[in-house]
């Protein structure tokens, strides 16, 4: 329901308002058609798809909860020192596997590192990988899928077959094969791998979306009024076609974070000295019987993070495409 918003300008509304439209003749005798009641009520202001979506989102508790979790995650990813004063890499073997104690609420790992500090610092790797992989996938996928959908023809067929091939590659197996040859411990090989395997998903969606939008009259009209191909694409097709891409990309962000943990767990994702929940889960899994706290904290953090992004994706989808609800 639209919330009551003060009208922009009472005077401006009068000529097209409902009451005035009863009288079809304006002062100079020229007739003007009635504007219609839904045309511009007093409680309406200029709205676009995006401002509509934003209004829906603000009222959605799922969005608020997931948004707060994600804001917090981003905050500690950028600035982990704010809530964890220790060093995630300074470990004391004497305290290995010990439980909770003052100053160390989550206990210690098998190497004697502080679990709390490592869990906090682990957010950085997860968020970095998730955000970078999603951005990369969204940009590459939209560009390729969008171009193929817009121009169609030969290159479109080629691209569609290429995406089919990529869809056939099992992600974990592909990761084991491709990433096992990488020695760097930074996040970039993992991000690169995710973009490589992830773009076809977005590209398919972008292509379909662009093909649908391209058939709209306004694209034809823009062409008839002299718009160039690039202008039609960037200004008329893309802004209308991008909503489904955003929805899928947001949901995918959660799965990329989970995938990073999976690959790190298998030893082909991030590697020590990087701090990652996946690495910690992998280390802790061997001691699950005698020291379950070592597993529970990073695993819990991972689960909450993935859940938060998937919830956010759901909320965004509801807001941008109410028909899918």
């Amino acid at each position: 329901m639209p919330e009551p918003v003060p009208p922009k300008d009472e005077g401006a509304i009068a000529p097209t308002g409902f009451g005035a439209s009863m009288d079809l003749a304006t002062s100079d005798g020229e007739t003007v058609e009635p504007a219609g009641p839904g045309d511009r009520g007093p409680d309406e202001r200029a709205r676009s798809l995006w401002s509509d979506a934003w209004r829906d989102l603000r009222r959605n508790p799922i969005f608020i909860v997931s948004g707060l979790i994600i804001l917090f995650l981003v905050f500690i990813a950028i600035w982990p020192q704010a809530i964890a004063s220790g060093n995630p890499l300074s470990c004391d073997l004497a305290k290995a596997q010990e439980g909770s104690q003052p100053g160390h609420p989550f206990g210690f790992t098998s190497q004697g590192c502080d679990v709390y500090t490592r869990t906090v610092y682990g957010a950085r790797a997860s968020v970095t990988v998730g955000v970078c992989a999603t951005l990369g996938v969204a940009i590459v996928g939209t560009a390729l899928g969008g171009l193929a959908g817009f121009f169609g023809g030969f290159w479109d067929s080629i691209l569609s077959r290429v995406t089919d091939i990529f869809f056939g590659i099992p992600v974990v197996l592909g990761g084991l094969v491709l990433l096992s040859v990488v020695t760097s411990s930074s996040v970039w090989p993992v991000v690169g791998f995710m973009v490589l395997l992830g773009w076809p998903q977005i590209s398919r969606i972008a292509r379909g979306s662009v093909i649908t939008i391209k058939q709209n009259d306004f694209v034809q009209a823009a062409r008839a009024l002299g718009a160039s191909n690039s202008r039609m694409m960037l200004r008329h097709v893309l802004p209308n076609a991008v909503a489904p891409v955003i929805v899928v990309a947001t949901i995918a962000l959660g799965t990329y974070i989970a995938l990073e943990a999976t690959l790190s767990y298998l030893g082909v994702g991030l590697k020590p000295p990087s701090v990652s929940w996946g690495i910690d889960i992998s280390d802790a899994s061997k001691f699950i019987r005698n020291a379950p706290h070592m597993l529970l904290w990073p695993a819990g953090a991972l689960a909450i993070t993935v859940l938060a992004f998937i919830m956010l994706g759901d909320a965004v989808r509801d807001a941008l495409d109410p028909k899918l609800r």
């Binding site: 058609e33 009259d217 718009a227 209308n240």
Partner: protein, 325 residues
């Protein structure tokens, strides 16, 4: 002559074979003149317009022959780059459904302003000012306040005015209006037509009015071209046609207009259906539906006979049709 279409042929390659959508159409429009192109859906009137504008989808469409001479220059032999500069600036098009012809994510001001930015290289601010002027010119109340509204916030008639404003923005010498009032209700139709006619007079433009509404035509057109199955079957000054049609198809169209003095009687309808364009019947395409058809109509394609200086009819029996009032 501002625009001369000579023997234009357009084909569509479909699964069922080659559809000859436009089969040797010739017509011309002079500055300040209004040509109404009349015909049922599928008669090729819109396709002819798209070919003139150069916005035909190729493939599946293909211009198989003919000339489109605009200001002494054959557009079909002009490079796409230059045609794009002509579109919008020197010839523009108005579409049937203004809601779908306007980009839903851009404000009307942005879309109107785009004309000046694309073709005149104006700054965003100047373009915005011109957009308001244009909206005032097409008599949109409170233009200044509404320039930042989105298309869906306007009523149908107002949207069509905005489409007209976009087409008029750069004062082109030719406007093609493809059923500009079909999507509007009757009272608004008259106002929009009047506006179009006023602006045309003011700017001394040539206007091609594509329609299937004979009522709209009578008031504004100077001459009429009636199309059937991709051919012109009759061209004449507007009054001559209403007085006495020289082609049985035109006769049928005129007889199917509901009239007050025939209240209570059944409305006349031309029997049968327009032909499938992939299988146009031999001889005169209208012969299976024609009350006057003779053997010659089933074997020979009638040429355009000269009825008088300004009038042509593609019927072997135009004399008899004329006399049969």
């Amino acid at each position: 002559m501002l625009l001369e279409v000579r023997e234009l042929q357009v084909e569509f390659h479909t699964r069922d074979g080659v559809a000859k959508a436009v089969n040797g159409v010739s017509y011309s429009v002079d500055a300040g003149e209004t040509l109404a192109v009349l015909g049922e859906s599928g008669s090729g009137k819109s396709v002819t317009a798209q070919a003139i504008m150069g916005i035909l989808d190729v493939p599946p469409g293909r211009i198989a022959g003919g000339e489109v001479v605009f200001k002494g220059r054959d557009l079909l032999k002009t490079k796409e780059d230059e045609r794009r500069k002509i579109r919008g600036a020197d010839m523009a098009m108005i579409f049937q459904d203004a809601l779908s012809s306007l980009n839903p994510v851009l404000t009307v001001g942005a879309q109107l302003g785009e004309m000046f930015i694309v073709h005149r290289g104006m700054s965003r601010k100047d373009a915005r000012a011109r957009a308001v002027e244009l909206m005032e010119r097409v008599r949109i109340p409170a233009a200044k306040e509404r320039v930042n509204d989105y298309p869906h916030q306007f009523s149908g008639g107002m949207r069509q005015r905005i489409m007209i404003a976009m087409a008029m923005a750069l004062e082109p010498s030719l406007i093609i209006a493809d059923e500009p009032t079909t999507a509007l209700d009757v009272t608004v139709q008259a106002q929009v037509m009047e506006l179009l006619a006023d602006l045309q007079r003011e700017l001394n433009m040539g206007l091609i009015l594509i329609t299937h509404d004979l009522g709209v035509v009578a008031d504004v057109a100077d001459k009429i071209a009636v199309m059937y199955a991709g051919r012109i079957v009759e061209t004449a000054p507007v009054h001559d046609i209403y007085k006495a049609p020289a082609h049985p198809y035109t006769r049928g169209l005129l007889d199917s207009i509901p009239r007050l003095d025939q209240k209570g009687r059944d409305l006349y309808a031309i029997k049968g259906l327009p032909p499938n364009l992939t299988r146009i019947p031999p001889g005169c395409a209208f012969n299976p539906r024609c009350p006057r058809a003779q053997d010659i109509c089933r074997t020979d394609v009638p040429p355009l006979f000269e009825v008088d200086e300004n009038r042509r009819s593609a019927c072997f029996f135009w004399r008899e049709t004329l006399d049969d009032v």
